[in-house]
Symmetry: C2
């Protein structure tokens, strides 16, 4: 299984923490059903005013499709300054550092 | 446990894949023993000429110390253009999307 990691981050004004969970729980349910998604970690930095996510997909095509879809969704929310990068996962090095893959 | 996620990426000229594993296996053993590190995923993108990693630490101080240490190490290897961001993990949203935390 060729894993693809996608990292998104972008300017975000909150809510943070429990408020973020309440506001975005429905979106999380939707993202959980995304084709090819293994998992997503939700990230937030109130001090820097940035949020995002780290995604692992089980194939590169699903990762690319999601990257386009999520970029468009964020733009529709009025988000600008989106940074999105895709990477192959080096599974052997990651195993040495206990990555849960 | 307040988890902190650190994302690093930077210009990289290879080696990639198995060659990267061979070149950096010793470094991976060293990083595996880093205080507070839960895990690291090693990332590489030969087409874009970038590599990096996604780290989860079990406390923010360990994450900040590692971020400084690894930035200095990369600079000592001649790496420039390092992008490093730290985030809190939203555990509740991440649980909805099956994150292994």
């Amino acid at each position: 299984m060729a894993l693809t990691l996608v990292q998104f981050d972008f300017p975000f004004a909150g809510p943070w923490g429990a408020g973020m969970t309440e506001a975005l729980g429905g979106l999380a349910q939707d993202i959980a059903a995304e084709p090819g998604l293994v998992w997503k970690i939700w990230t937030e930095n109130a001090a820097d005013g940035r949020a995002g996510g780290i995604y692992v997909f089980d194939n590169p095509d699903a990762a690319a499709a999601y990257r386009d879809k999520h970029s468009a969704r964020l733009a529709s929310f009025g988000v600008t300054g989106i940074v999105a990068h895709s990477f192959d996962v080096n599974a052997d090095l990651s195993a040495i550092t206990r990555a849960p893959l």
